[in-house]
């Protein structure tokens, strides 16, 4: 039986903390204990045991305590007089005092070290805080890791997370075993007319078991009971804390109060605690989802969430639900053909948009810290070198190597601690800036703040940094032989070859990391520039839009005596009713439109069902007339607009005409298409005058005009076919955007619009108020944030690397003053000295850049999902970054090179 190999890290750390003369016996005792535990409790326990040996404050006292011992004790000798505890503490105090004095002796250098550390630690802490809060911490639900989402997928259209129908949900719930409970929720808005005006309530219809599944109790009152779910039960709602505070003044008397929502009485039964926002923070209230016979299997409006049963994982739930769903889908081919199932952990779902970017940030900021540490290690090494004589004298006077190493390490740790404290302040400020700049989509932002965890992290980073940059000088210091030290500094001898190599290695490493980071940042900057250079296809300047609901549509009312009528008798009556309502709606639209147009300072107004970068439009199967009916017809996005829409938004007309007052319900149906659609459907021909077949019912519409392409959702999207139909010919839109172009200040205009709408109908709330510029801006907020963060890190890394190179070269110049003097005395010109120094810097830079570029090639693929229109190995970005890095590095070398060239040969030789 070969003895198991003990873990080397804890063993090494333990041995390192003991005095050299005690190491052998300590190692023996540790190995013996390790083998004992391995024998009796197994390898894992033994490994844990070894790590646990570190978890004691006594580890730090090993060295101090050991000094009490005689070199070699043997039985029978009298024990040494006790060294009082006080003197051991004095040793530590001496080390600290020495470190503090040496820090103060070179205030400039110390300030650079501390500032570098503060920036690196601050950036690390801020990013760690965000990563921790957004990605790592469990969501604020009971046992959040047990929550998982069940989505429908529609592979045919590339939908990965689609909604489900009520019958599907009910079937899954009754059959699943991998979920102990399944709940469902669907978006809903309702209007409450209060004395101060109409307000839209944005909320969710939820199954009664949703709150128990999440495991969050209400702040006041109760959540829903199964009774609330029954059809015909009295209406109840639960309010969010924000709603409770803002609309009801935080008055607990709101419980059991009845409010009117969409004209129906509902009772407030509960208030959720602050910070609870399910499924999103903007949720204002919840109401029970009542199973309704009208909820068909093809009405997909529900999102399903469940709690995994013990012993189940997301993967096992995925397998089981896919099985259940495919059995159900096979029996309902009309509704569910081609659907699939996707089960995803709730946490993974909530943070999916931010995950890649945040891990990239974490990686980048970690690299930044590495650069900072390398930089400081180099500075410290130079400083140690400059103090060789001091070290030599100390050694000659009897200070042990361990003692000198301890002192140097103490000094590094002292600097790191100061840097850490300042870093915490930097982190606080940086975090505030990051949160202010963060895109609205960054999940869980409200939870972010500095706390104990972050403090612990900062302390840890400082400690690691302190050891990391302290070890090299300490090891170096301890290696020196006293006699040589005194001699060397007396004779002005150079650094050892090893030291030079270490210093150059650090400088190269810094350049390499900085280059890799800068190339990554450069790719994002390039990509962002590409993205924002794209024209949206309309002129957003001065455009403001707000959505308004039409007056409630009375089409659910059956005409009197409907029960006894046949379908043929009923249809005309219903059609009459619909026409009457449409006429009423159009009058309402006209009225609002005219009132807005009359506002001073409003140049144009229009109505539209959808808005670019705002609410998405609808989509319809669309075919050019004469197309083979068997063709697989694609769905095309569309919008329903008033005649003035194109002019209000500044969308250019390419051919034909815009809609006009003549395009009404009674006239022939017309459509306007965008350029891409015209080119795709009728390549090489004029689209005007052609006919489109719209929707499954293939209703014909004449194309009367062609307009420019407009980006609908994001600047980066592909050009897609798009079509427009006139509002007067569509009966179905129940909410429209009021679009205005004006020079008025936004707040004033919003007030005016509110007043004008209230004058027409005070029960209609205004929602989704925003300027087009703000809407477009919101779509680039995420890439801008990523670009800004990474560009900052890249620039900082480059700056640190340049400082590092400067330090190394400047030191070398100082060291070689004599040599340079001799060269010049022997006839070397200033130009050749300049070349000599620049050349040595260039060698460093080229090597570092070479390694960095290789690193960038390996690392930039992680950026792929964040890039737009730029490849991960974009030649232009690579070359530009390399040129920039080379330029600044050479600039950093030029300053010492000029100093070298200015050396006076006589002076330098007399220098000795």
């Amino acid at each position: 039986m070969s003895p198991p190999r003990p873990p080397r890290i804890p063993l090494g750390l333990l041995l390192a903390s003991a005095a050299p003369e005690r190491r052998a016996e300590l190692e023996g005792d540790l190995l013996e204990g390790y083998e004992r535990v391995a024998r009796t409790q197994g390898m894992r326990a033994a490994r844990r045991w070894m790590w646990r040996q570190l978890l004691s404050g006594d580890v730090l006292r090993l060295r101090l305590a050991n000094r009490a011992r005689r070199p070699a004790g043997c039985p029978g000798t009298a024990s040494e007089p006790e060294e009082p505890m006080k003197s051991r503490l004095d040793g530590l105090r001496r080390d600290l005092g020495w470190a503090w004095r040496s820090v103060r002796r070179r205030p400039g250098l110390s300030a650079i070290v501390v500032a570098t550390l503060a920036i690196a630690i601050g950036a690390n802490t801020a990013i760690f805080t965000i990563v921790d809060r957004v990605l790592l911490r469990p969501l604020p639900y009971e046992d959040a890791h047990g929550l998982a989402m069940v989505f429908r997928t529609v592979p045919q259209y590339g939908f990965e997370r689609s909604t489900s129908s009520y019958p599907d949900y009910a079937d899954w719930k009754s059959r699943t075993r991998s979920f102990s409970e399944l709940a469902a929720y669907g978006f809903i808005t309702r209007t409450r007319v209060a004395p101060d005006g109409a307000r839209r309530w944005v909320g969710y219809r939820v199954t009664a078991n949703l709150f128990p599944v999440l495991g969050v109790p209400p702040r006041l009152g109760r959540t829903f009971s199964p009774d609330d779910d029954r059809p015909g039960a009295p209406g109840v709602v639960v309010l969010s804390d924000a709603m409770f505070e803002s609309r009801f003044g935080g008055d607990p008397g709101v419980l059991d109060q009845t409010v009117m929502l969409d004209g129906a009485p509902v009772r407030v039964v509960g208030v959720m605690p602050p910070g609870f926002g399910f499924p999103s923070r903007t949720t204002e209230y919840w109401e029970p989802l009542r199973p309704d016979p009208d909820l068909e299997r093809d009405t997909n409006f529900l999102t399903v969430i469940g709690r995994l049963a013990p012993g189940n994982t997301v993967a096992s739930a995925q397998a089981e639900l896919a099985r259940i769903a495919s059995a159900i889908d096979a029996s309902a081919p009309d509704a569910n053909q081609g659907f699939g199932i996707f089960v995803e952990g709730r946490q993974a779902f909530e943070v999916r948009s931010a995950r890649t970017a945040l891990w990239v940030f974490a990686g980048a900021v970690g690299l930044l810290l590495l650069v900072a540490c390398a930089n400081i290690a180099n500075l410290q090494l130079s400083r140690t070198l400059a103090r060789r004589r001091e070290m030599g004298v100390r050694t000659a006077l009897g200070a042990g190597q361990g003692r000198i190493a301890t002192q140097l390490l103490t000094e590094s740790l002292l600097l790191a601690s100061i840097g850490g404290v300042l870093g915490l302040a930097v982190a606080g400020g940086l975090l505030r800036v990051l949160i202010a700049l963060a895109p609205p989509g960054l999940p869980r932002l409200a939870e972010i703040g500095l706390d104990g965890w972050v403090l612990a992290f900062t302390a840890g980073v400082s400690l690691v940094a302190g050891i990391a940059f302290g070890v090299v000088p300490a090891v170096w210091g301890a290696r020196q032989d006293a006699g040589r030290l005194v001699r060397e500094s007396d004779s002005g001898g150079g650094r050892s070859r090893l030291t030079v190599r270490i210093q150059h290695g650090f400088a190269c490493g810094q350049i390499a990391i900085a280059i890799a980071l800068s190339i990554g940042a450069g790719l994002l900057v390039h990509s962002f520039a590409r993205l924002t250079a794209i024209e949206p296809g309309f002129d957003p300047t001065g455009v403001l839009a707000a959505r308004i609901q039409t007056p409630p549509r009375p089409d659910t009312e059956m005409p009197p005596g409907a029960e006894s009528m046949t379908r043929e008798e009923l249809m005309p009556l219903m059609m009459d009713q619909l026409e009457a309502w449409t006429a009423e709606r159009d009058r309402f639209f006209d009225d609002v439109h005219d009132r807005l147009a009359a506002i001073d300072g409003v140049q144009r107004t229009a109505l539209a069902y959808a808005l670019p970068f705002g609410a998405a439009g609808f989509s319809r199967v669309l075919a050019p007339e004469g197309a083979d009916p068997l063709d697989d017809l694609p769905a095309v996005g569309g919008n329903v607009v008033s005649p003035s829409y194109f002019r209000a938004l500044g969308i250019p007309l390419r051919a034909g005409r815009e809609f006009d007052e003549g395009d009404v319900a009674a006239s022939p149906r017309v459509a306007i298409v965008n350029q891409t659609l015209a080119e795709r459907y009728w390549p090489g021909e004029s689209a005007v005058g052609k006919r489109l077949l719209v929707g499954d019912e293939r209703r014909p519409a004449d194309v009367v005009g062609v307009v420019g392409d407009v980006r609908q959702q994001s600047l980066g999207e592909d050009r897609r076919p798009f079509f427009y139909t006139p509002l007067a010919q569509e009966t179905w839109p129940e909410a429209v955007f009021l679009v205005t172009r004006s020079t008025l200040p936004t707040a004033d205009l919003v007030d005016r619009i509110r007043r004008e709408v209230a004058a027409v109908d005070p029960s209609l709330p205004l929602t989704d108020i925003s300027t087009s510029a703000a809407l477009i801006d919101a779509t680039v907020a995420a890439p801008r944030f990523r670009t800004l963060v990474l560009a900052t890190f890249g620039a900082m890394a480059l700056l640190l690397a340049v400082i590092g190179v400067y330090g190394v070269i400047a030191y070398a110049v100082g060291e070689r003053t004599r040599e340079i003097g001799i060269r010049m005395a022997l006839g070397a010109g200033r130009g050749s000295i300049l070349g000599l120094v620049l050349g040595s810097g260039l060698r460093l830079a080229v090597l570092g850049i070479g390694v960095g570029v290789l690193g960038a090639v390996a690392l930039t693929r992680f950026l792929e999902s964040m890039l737009f229109g730029v490849g991960t190995r974009d030649i232009a970005t690579f070359s530009l970054t390399i040129a920039l890095a080379l330029g600044v590095t050479m600039l950093a070398c030029y300053l010492p090179a000029r100093r070298a060239a200015a050396v006076d040969p006589l002076e330098s030789l007399r220098h000795e």
Partner: protein, 112 residues
């Protein structure tokens, strides 16, 4: 300096373990003994620091043994209690006994 040393509870346990182990008292065996017999799970560092301190007070002494084929050929340090240490232990025991007198039949601690 005739005042007897005041021993802490763990110091007493450590010295008792040294006595119990006789000439097998080393860092590792002491650690095992303290864990199995006294239920004290301590790190090697703690044992070293404690014994160093006791040695500094002259209550324990130690010597390095020769290299052994086991434990990677590393030498063992052996410990033994000095007469002064034994005296201090007895003092501590006596102090404890004095304090226990009359409390033994206390309902709360009876029959432990």
């Amino acid at each position: 300096m005739t005042r007897p040393h005041q021993l802490g509870a763990f110091q007493q346990l450590a010295m008792l373990a040294v006595l119990r182990l006789g000439d097998e008292a080393t860092g590792s065996t002491l650690q095992e003994e303290l864990e199995t017999e006294a239920g004290r799970r301590v790190t090697i560092s703690t044992i070293y620091v404690t014994l160093d301190r006791l040695e500094g007070k002259g209550l324990v002494r130690s010597w390095l043994g020769s290299s052994t084929p086991v434990r990677g050929g590393k030498a063992r340090r052996f410990y033994e209690v000095t007469p002064a240490g034994a005296r201090a232990l007895r003092e501590s025991r006596a102090a404890l006994d004095r304090m226990w007198a009359g409390v033994e039949s206390h309902p709360l601690v009876e029959g432990r």
